[in-house]
Structures are given as C-alpha cells and as structure tokens.
Assembly symmetry: D2
Amino acid sequence: MGYEIKEAYKVLCDQLADRGIDVDDVKAKLKAQDVETPSWAYADGGTRFKTFKQPGAAITYQEKFADAAQVHKFTGICPRVAVHVLWDFVDVEISEVVEYAKSVGVGVGAINPTVFEQEEYMYGSIAHPDPKVRQKAVEHMLDSVEIGRKTGSNFLSLWFADGTNYPGMDDFVDRKHRVEDCLKTVYDAMPETMTMGIEYKLFEPGFYHTDIADWGMACKFAEKCGPNAKALVDLGHHARGVNIEHIVATLIDEGRLAGFHFNNARYADDDLTFGSVNPYEGFLIYNELVKAEAADPDLKIAYMIDQSHNVKPKIEAMIQTVEAIQYTYAKAMCIDRERLAKAQAEMNIVDCENIVSQAFFTDVRPLLHTVREEMGLDPEPLQAFRDGGYQQKIAEERGIRDSGGGLG
Amino acid sequence: MGYEIKEAYKVLCDQLADRGIDVDDVKAKLKAQDVETPSWAYADGGTRFKTFKQPGAAITYQEKFADAAQVHKFTGICPRVAVHVLWDFVDVEISEVVEYAKSVGVGVGAINPTVFEQEEYMYGSIAHPDPKVRQKAVEHMLDSVEIGRKTGSNFLSLWFADGTNYPGMDDFVDRKHRVEDCLKTVYDAMPETMTMGIEYKLFEPGFYHTDIADWGMACKFAEKCGPNAKALVDLGHHARGVNIEHIVATLIDEGRLAGFHFNNARYADDDLTFGSVNPYEGFLIYNELVKAEAADPDLKIAYMIDQSHNVKPKIEAMIQTVEAIQYTYAKAMCIDRERLAKAQAEMNIVDCENIVSQAFFTDVRPLLHTVREEMGLDPEPLQAFRDGGYQQKIAEERGIRDSGGGLG
Amino acid sequence: MGYEIKEAYKVLCDQLADRGIDVDDVKAKLKAQDVETPSWAYADGGTRFKTFKQPGAAITYQEKFADAAQVHKFTGICPRVAVHVLWDFVDVEISEVVEYAKSVGVGVGAINPTVFEQEEYMYGSIAHPDPKVRQKAVEHMLDSVEIGRKTGSNFLSLWFADGTNYPGMDDFVDRKHRVEDCLKTVYDAMPETMTMGIEYKLFEPGFYHTDIADWGMACKFAEKCGPNAKALVDLGHHARGVNIEHIVATLIDEGRLAGFHFNNARYADDDLTFGSVNPYEGFLIYNELVKAEAADPDLKIAYMIDQSHNVKPKIEAMIQTVEAIQYTYAKAMCIDRERLAKAQAEMNIVDCENIVSQAFFTDVRPLLHTVREEMGLDPEPLQAFRDGGYQQKIAEERGIRDSGGGLG
Amino acid sequence: MGYEIKEAYKVLCDQLADRGIDVDDVKAKLKAQDVETPSWAYADGGTRFKTFKQPGAAITYQEKFADAAQVHKFTGICPRVAVHVLWDFVDVEISEVVEYAKSVGVGVGAINPTVFEQEEYMYGSIAHPDPKVRQKAVEHMLDSVEIGRKTGSNFLSLWFADGTNYPGMDDFVDRKHRVEDCLKTVYDAMPETMTMGIEYKLFEPGFYHTDIADWGMACKFAEKCGPNAKALVDLGHHARGVNIEHIVATLIDEGRLAGFHFNNARYADDDLTFGSVNPYEGFLIYNELVKAEAADPDLKIAYMIDQSHNVKPKIEAMIQTVEAIQYTYAKAMCIDRERLAKAQAEMNIVDCENIVSQAFFTDVRPLLHTVREEMGLDPEPLQAFRDGGYQQKIAEERGIRDSGGGLG
C-alpha cells in the first residue's frame, strides 16, 4: 500500500506540536498569503539569442489575464496580475481592462511603466542627458500613476534600464540628480495610498554602471521622494555572494522594503523559477519576513513574481512557482523560535543551525494539501490544471504566434 | 502527544515505495558509507585575523585521533583519519601512530604532504623557480608516499599553495613544466595501489594566479602522471557560479575523479560545514555520485571532509557534518529515477525539476534513525556525543592552549 | 605650439632602445598582425530587453562585407570577415558571396554554423535528447565544413547554446556523450587544413549548466576529435576572477589553443569593446601570446573579434576595437624581457611587476602612427573613416530598418 | 643614445597643453597630495596558511614609524602613519609615541581601534549578543577617541570583524540595533573636529553575513550617528563586479565619503598593491575624486593605504604603492574635460571612451619626475631608497623575528 497523505499530515502535526508551533495559525497565514503574477510571464520570452515560441503563449491582455486567472483558480493565492503599461494598456480603455480582469476572476496589480523599449531610450530614460527624453519618461510614469488610480492599484513598480556601457560615457552625479528629480516629480503626483517600489539591479542592460545599482541607491532615491517610496528587491539583481536576507532585514528595519520580485538566479539575472537553484536562500529570506510579520502585523510587503520561463510551459511554470513559494513560507513558519532564541543566547551555533535547517527540511506538503482542501481547492494544483485541459485548449486556439509582449 | 519516529519511518517507507525505491538497498548503502575526517579539524583553526582558541582543541596526534574516534564511535561511518605529515608525523615512529590510531578505534587515512608552511616555500614549492626548493618538496612527498606504504594508506592527497600574487612575478609555462616534472617523480614512486589526488583551487594564498587553478589543470597534470593520478574536488575551490556537479560528472566519465574534500562556501574557500550554505548543491553533487555508483559498482571515490570550524566546537561540528552528508546521500537515493528518465525523454522540465526537488525535500531523518539503530548506534549521534561527556572531559584536561597544528 | 608626433616617436624609440627592444621587429610584427571582424557586428544587436536600431546597420551579406571592408581599409589588418552560416549564406551561391567579398576587398573568414536559432533547438542542438535534432545540427555543421572548403576558409568556429536551465532537466553524462559523437562526425569530415575551434562558455543561454562550460571541457572534447580540434577562448565566457592569461598559456603549452573571440566583460558575457573595461587583462593575455610566438614562430592562432555594440556606431566601434588590439599587442612587445627574466630569477617581485606595468603604460600611439604611415594608411584610422563620409552615406541609403541578422 | 626624461617631459607638456590642461596646476596638486601609510604594513603579515617572516620586518612602534618615515622621505607625500591601537599603543605613554614619530619625521594618522583579536570577540564585538563584550569594545573605542585627541589625529577608523558564519546563528535586526547603539555612544564622545570612518566589507572573517556589509549599511549607520560619521571605502571589500567608482561618486554626492583604504583585489580582500591587478579601476575612481575636488575645493577625503605585502619587501612595496597612486592621480588630471563634456552631450560614446582612456595611457612619469625634483626629492624614489641602504641595515640589525604585529 502506498503513501497516505493523512498519515503524513498527522506525523507533521506532531512534529510541529513538538516545536511549539500553532498549526492553525500557520494554516490561517497560508490561506491569507497573496502573491501577484506578472502579465508578461504568460507571453513568449527569451534570451538575446532567441525567443522560442510556445503554443498558446499569450499576446493580448485578455489572454494574459485569462491565463493568470488559471493560476489563481488552482492556487487560490494569486488574485492580482501585475501589468506593464506599454504591453497591456495600449489603445484600450482602462476600464475595459479592469472589467475584463474582473470577468475572469482576477484584478489589476502593480503598475509597471515601460520606459526602456522605445528608440528614445537608447541612452537611458530618467537619467538620459536630454531633458526631452526624461520628460517623456516622466509623463509615461505620470500616466501610469493615473492608470493605478483608475484600476485601484496602489503599487507603482519602477524598473529602469538606465546605465552606461563604457567608462566616461556620462557623469554619475549628473545622472543621479536627474534620477532624483524625475522620481520626485512622479512621487508628488501619487495618491497617498500608493507605494512607489524602486527596483535596483547590478547590471544588464547596462554593462559598465547602472544608475540604481543596489539597495543602498534605491533607498537613497526613495528617501528623497518620501515615506511611500521604498526599495523593491528582485532576487536576481545582486552581485554573486551578496546576502539577500540580510538586505531584506535591513530594509524592513529601515521601513524601506516595498516588496519583491521573486525568482532565482545562479549567474546573473537568470529569472529562473523561485527556489529552483538555491531553495535555502528563499527560505532564509522568508525567515526574515516571518519574523518581521510577527513583530509588526501591519507590515505591508508586495509579493510579486518576475520570471522568464523560456523553456517551460508558462502557466505550469507559474503554478510550480506559486507552490514553491507556499512551501517556502510554510517551512519558515516551522522554525522552533523559542529553542532558536535560547540557542542564540547561549551562542550554541551548532544547535542554531540545526534548528533552522530542520525547519527547512520539514516536509510541509501534507500541510499545504490540507490547506488547499480547506480552501475548497484541489490539493494538487499542477495536476488539477493539467487535468483541466486549458493548456491544450489555448495551444489549439491560439497556436504558435509572433509575440507581441516583452519580458521583464 | 508528540512526534513518533516509527510512524514517520512508516510514512517515509510508503513514500519511497511509491517511487519504486528499494529501502533495504538504500539502508545497505548508508551502512556502507565511508567518510574520512581530517586530523587538523580537531585542532584550533582560524582566519588570518585571528585563531580563536577552544578549550580541549587537539594538539598532538594522539588527541586528534582520539577526537576523531569519537566521531566514528557515534556515526559509525568515519573509520579513518586523514593526516597532514608535518602536523602529525614529526619526530615519531610511523608504527607508533598507526598503533595509537588502532588503539582508539580508527585508522590512518589520506596522507597529506605539508609543503607550504616552511620559509623556503615563500615563492612556492613544486613550481618554485629554485630547483633546491622543488627538490625539498619532492623529497617530502616521497617521504609521504613511504608513510602511506607503512600506514597502509593508499591515498596521497596533494594540495599546493603555489601561485603568484602579481603579474610578471613568474612565467606560467615554466612553472607548469616544473609542476609536471615534480608530480611525475612522485607518481613514479607510488605503489600501484596508491591513488594520487591532485587538488585544484581558484585562489588563496595566491592572489594573482594559482598553478593548479581548476579541474582542467588538475586533470592535465594527472594525465601526465598516469592512470592512478586524478583530480581532487574541494567544494570551496571554485569560482562563484561554477557548476560543481557538472564537473564531478565530467571527471567521473573521464575516469579522473579521485575524491572530495567536503565543505561549503558562499564567497571563497570559506571551509564551512557541508550543506550549511547551499544544501541543494551538495544534493545535486550526490545525485551524480549515486548515478555513477549505480553504473559502475567498482567506482572508487575517496570521501573526505576538509572544514575549518573557527567558531563551532570541533567534534560536535564534525558529527553535524557527517550527519549532513548522510542525509544528503540518502536524499539523492530517494529520486524516482524511472519517472525522471521518462520526464527527461519527454522534455517535461517542470516534472524533471519537481521529481528532483521532491527527493531533496524528503525527510530522511527517520531512515537514518533506523539505519543507526540497525548498526547498533544511538539514533541521535550529536545528542549521544554530548551525553557522553567527552567534550567536558577534554576541555578540563587539555584546557585552552597555544595551537600546534595548522589548518587546511 | 602643440604636441608633435615625431618628437614623441623619437622619445619612444629611445625608451625602447633602453629596454633592448628592436623597434623594426616590433613594427614588422604590427604590420603582419591579422584580426578577423565578424559579419554580425555590423548588423543591429541588443540585449533581451531591446535591440536599438541604428541608421545604416547592415542586413544583407553585401552590406556586412562592405562595412567590414571599411575597417580593413582604414586599419590594414582586418582582411577577413567571420561569417554566420544562417545569417550570411541563406539562399545564395557560395561563390557569389566569395566574389562579392573579394570585390569590396575582403575575404571570408571563420565559418560559424548557426545551431541555436531554430525552434528545434529549444532544448539544445548536439546535446539534445532527440537524435533527429542532433542530426539536423550535425548536417548543418557538415554543410558549414563544405562552405569552408568552397570559400577557402580553414577555420570552423563552433559555439553551442546547449545547456539546461534546471537541475534534473537532463543527464550530464548522456549529453557529454552526445556532444562527443556529433563533434567527431564533423571533425572527420573536415579537410586536413581546417581547424575546429570549440568555444566554451560559463552560462547563457543555459542558466543551470552549459555543456561546454570551461576550457577543460572544450579541451577534452577537442582531444576526442583529433589534433586539429582546439579550444576557442572568448574573453567574456569565464566565471568572475578566473585568470584568462593563465588559461591561454596552458592551452598553448598543450597545443590546444585555436584562437580568440576578443571583447571585454565586467559582469557576464557583456560583449563590450576589447580593452574598454579592464585593459590590463588584454595586455597580460597578449604578453603570453608574444612569448609563445617568440618560442614558436609557426604557432597559428586565430584572432577574431566578437562584440555586440548595442549603443555604439558599429563601424566606428570596430575601428576603435582594432586600434585597441594594436596598442595592446604593441605594448606587450615593449616588455624588457631580459630584465624581467633576471628579476624573476632573483624573485624580485617589485621589479617584475614594475617592468611589466611599465610596458603597459608605454605610450605606443606614435609607434602605430608610424606603422600606419609606412603601410600607406592614414595614421588616425577613426578620424579618417569619419572624414570618408561612409557612415553618413549608409545611414542615408539604408536608413533605419528591421534587422535581419543576429548577434553572437 | 638613450631615453631623455627632459625630452619626454616636453612631449608630455605639449600633449597636455593640447588638452587644455594647466600643467602648473597639476603639479601643485601632486605636490599637495597626502596619503597615509599604515603602521601594520611594516610588520610581517600573511594568509591563514602562513605568515612568512621577512628580515627586518618591524615589530615595535618605533620600528614601524622609522620605516614609514623612509617612505615619506623618498616620496614626500606620506607624512602620517595610521595606527592600530592594540598593536601600537600597548603599555606606552601616548606622548612618547607622538614624540617618537615626530623625531623620525612623521605624525600619527588615523586611529584604528582593535576589536577583533581578543578571545571575547569570538562571536563579534559591537554586534555581540553579550552586552559585556559590547561594553568592552565600546570602551576600547572611547579610549581610541582619547588617543586621537592626544595625538592630534582627527580620524577614527572603524573596522569590525562582526558577522556570522551560519544561518540562524544570530538575529540580523538585533545585531543592527546593537551596532547602532555602540556607534552612537562612540560618536557622541568624539570631538567636533573628528571624523568617524565606518568601513564596510562583504565577507571575511564572517562567511555567512557581515554586519556592515556594504556602503549602504555603512551609510545608514553613519546617518544615525551624525554628520561627521561617514563610510570608509576599502577597495577590496566589495562583491565581484561592483562598480566602486559609482559608489564613490554616490557617497561624495551624499556627503558621506570619509576616505579610502587603498589596495587592489581580484578575488576577495586580497590586499594587493594599489593598481597591480586592475589599474584602470583605480584611475576611474580617481577620475571621480578629481571631479569632486574641482567642484568643492574644501572636500576632505582621507587617503590611506591598507595592504598586506606577504611576499614583497615591505618598505619597497609601500614606495611602489605610493608611486602607483601618484601616477593614477596624475593621469586622472590628464583628462580633457572640455572635450569629454562635449562628447557626452553629443552622446558620442566612442569619443567619450577614447578621451578617458587616452588620459589613462598618458605617460606621466616625466611629470612626477619633475614634481619630485621641484620638491627636492630624488626623481626615482624606489631606486633612491634602495641606494640608501636602509633595508640592508634593518635586515641586519633586526633580523628575522617572531612577529608581534597583526595585519589589517
């Protein structure tokens, strides 16, 4: 006879009880988890060498929302879709987009201005030497604020491709001042309820310097805007070796963490599936989040996914990602914090490490299984999606087409 | 009432059965696992900034063997101790060392010549421009071969600090030829049963170039010696990002993998506990080993630990390490290989990844618990060691002393 | 009164004389220098985020050859153009291409098969699990060999995008064997005069593993083919920190250096202008080449440029690159090798370093000025090209168009 | 006939005149340059594997000051010596040290508290969980402030080894708050004229996290102290790829750059000679400094050297370093800034890059030759030092001894 999930769940509950963990509380938090998926991840994406086209990949905003709705339908925790303005809001009434999203069961999430794809931006957008180009970028961001107002989205998600490729190409400080001015103009136009998330990135597409290169720069720019401007952490945007969980803890303590772009990376901004390369890193980041949540229940952090599934089927990959995030969050709640605090106070490093890694290796699948059942969902989202036949349907109906979208 | 290991074991066995895995076979392999611990890890070690002294840290070879014997006593899979010639065989009869080791229940493992600590080696050993220095290094290695012969150890473990700090300091090709000559001389003196493990390292203590900098160079030097010379993989000796499991698979396929120095690293040659920084990496390496073992049961790979527990109690840290290695090996045997092969053939990447990560997240603690009981050991080695009182005893008897040993 | 190049040249000659350097010999070598430019660098290229279109960027092979001919016209050392088969040889008689090249004053250089842009290659080419895909790739390479035969090009330049994005996606060793088989088939079809250059790369587009990831793997694959298969070093394809000049010296000593793809990189495969990020690195590589040339005048190394000038005007950037390569080569010949050998023998590291860096900081512009004049060229190639009006002409005639080419 | 420095100087002056550069101004700035050398660099230093002992290496503060005085004697720009409190101020009257320094012709520079070498600091100093340990560290720093007051030194140079080696070992936020408190206490005790330089470092000796890991964290801690607390940039303390000149420009613009620890690094905190690995990086940093100086003549930046010359003779290496810094500064003043600004405004990237690199490749040796002569110094400091016989004298008198000092 085979593996019985009920038995496994009982064993897990006993384990957690031994660690003094309130399973009901963990389940409540897992049910309340909320992660945004990005519209562009349902479209074809690729590397500079090739964008492979997948049957059924989305092009229109309707297709993207419909695909995202599948992810929400089967996971129950992805009710909103982050949008990229020039990819999703061209020649369309904003209210139409909102209505359509609603009609398929999702909402509009973070608003991402698109300021890197037009020919004017060859040498940058808000750091560009030419004030006309900066003005264009600022106006597009002001439009984006307006879109947020109309869609009810309160998160403005800013990523800039601005940087230089060669020493001497431009002056760092001049560029810094231009960026400060542009961001402040946009910030001042935001409604009070809106958060500005400022993304930083070590490199790409700038290969010599990037104007917002690390969390420190994002934080400095945010401070010059005001309290609702904060840093946005994309897990793939750091130099190798950098301890991201330490940055996350620092930003939270400084009141400057806007949220995340989840993914995973080994070499550069690889945009791989969350947890696929170094799952322990994701867990250690969630460890900081669980602690911060416990310390401040009003803490607001935007959880968003930003991946590029070049060789995986897009919707399946997104469901796999959401599951990975759920397991990671659950595991971070499985740390015996009382024992850990005691071991830390005694400087018993061996025990500290074991207590943390034991939580990481807790098999939380039976817990999520139960949570999903209690949420009225199929306990195996990926299989349920596959069984639903949606992928075959879109592959057939949409076929393989030239992509209209971009990638983030 | 709490967690019951027996129930957990039953759940695990059911899981493994569903994956078509023969639990008895897995248990047999876990019982046959064999990992060497290094004598120098029981002595004080540190960074260039400070070596913190721990109460009870070993100085003499007797103390190191006695400490290592504790690790074997509680884990059952560490019957041998790797030795460093100038730290363990100075002014002593070899037979005495062998006898002493035997008396405490362990044997002498890999022989590590020590060719980096004497003033002559300021500019290198076997790559040194001065033939007298090279001669000295070669003679020490020939003595080490002799020690191996007398101790019955058949593994010569070679690490060289040779490198340069500044461009122009020496000629790469001249140095290459010197290294080739010296290694060949030593190789030719080895008995047929001996393996020469040639360790490579990206940097440190050389900060411009290292003469044996990567697996390719180690492999080239090995080929020039003969079939029993092979590359030795220290997990902390690679550039960031390098895929170690890919190198391991390549070396095995080329017949040139001598074995491992296990540890873990985030930044450089950090020499941290195996699995403590990126446990998935260790698992993916073991995945290659499990596959290779299955394909060739006669495959001989030397498993050795090389860590520097600067702030952890040494014996506890070693037991923790051995447990981590056991769990990792066990997890790698929990992959449903039939399903994986099928998913690979279908290029179903989402399933491939899930099958692999599911094995990684299998909670194999109940399995090791059972294995240890069947081996007549305490199922919780770390706790058992702590309960045994050995650490208190040596802390008291030996106290805090100036270290005599070195660090690797 | 201003700077007089003649005075500067005299000062330089005196300096070099003091170092025992034969200026005539240096000049002869600079005149004989020979670097290939790649056809694809004259077409629009970009990052995954955007390919900015430049006025006049080449699309057809005719345009690419014509542009490359400009580089040769003004530098005098770029007589051949590396071609990418699917970008330059589609629906065209090979003889036509050869004729056209000749008509504008250049020849066909290295033949680069294109095995990463078609939908079949989504999961790889010669490492692909499906034998039909491998067969397609092999056939394309065999066609490429044939093209080489017909164009008189004796260099087959192989880069594969093969790799995986996720652990478990495929088996490393199976893939290795597939690659070995395919390469051997192609090698066996090559004429004796042809060299197979096997390029390695740490990552991209594979983000978990790359089948030919480092020089060691390229070398192993080459050895399995035969003596005319060798490793091709692209300066941007290494992990951070890796000492490329050490690898170059090693490959030369092993008889396995096919040649170079010159460029420069700070973060990843940035494909920036040679010498623009870390000019000392290029110099130290050339130092090895100058030594190797001196030791073996018959040494054959293919010098090729592979850059992606996303934001620089393409032809200007190529001339700038060729100049940078000339200065670097010249500087490497300015090392006082007698004094260096003496300092090395005395282990006088301070002097070793100073002798090398002094050569690097030698202002060799007056030397190249003279060399160009003696070659009948304008001494300032970039200015001369600008004055020639070619760029304005193609910008006007060709305009801004959708690109047909790709990027390497 | 050989190279004539006078002719070379004339050629250089003509070159600079063509670039619109005022040579007299450049010379004045070079004469006013001021760089501190560190007392510990005259003592034996090494890696964790071995500290090689050099004949004549300094042990006492007297020896260190005497050696440093040689560097100042021959370069004329190193009038002060940075001190490490526990290495230079143990069991001695502060006034004696000051007097002695004066007597040999140098002064006391930056005060470096030593809070990482005592057994209490095994788990950190100001981030340590135990308030008694933090108190000890704070008291030592308060003593250091007092030393600064008495020696007339107005720079408190803070580096902390604080960090953790394993996940879970301690809580990031708790540690952050401890660091904030301790630094504020010390800051509040500083005289108004004193600057607190807070050094950051990616890793080592902490191998999992470092409490002050990057410029952003150093800046945050500084802001919590007050306006005289600033970040201290050690060139070897960044993750690979990080653009240091961009950070320098950012810190200056934020009013938070305390100064530098000059050295060079390829892999980690290699502590090699400034300019020896990547001279262009040093030049690009100086480019920012020259611009900032021009914009604000009152800008105060502390220039200090922090290197570990494991295999180079210490005093020679220091003179070589100072020369490298002089050449770099001079080159950065050789940029034709008017042409550069114009090229930047026109987004002529090719020219921008060429203008910058042309300055880098300017042979400024004749300029420094002249500057030194005008300062009454020997134009060739290294040779002059060698000719002076000091090294032989100390080698003979001091011999090879067990080191008493440490390394930074």
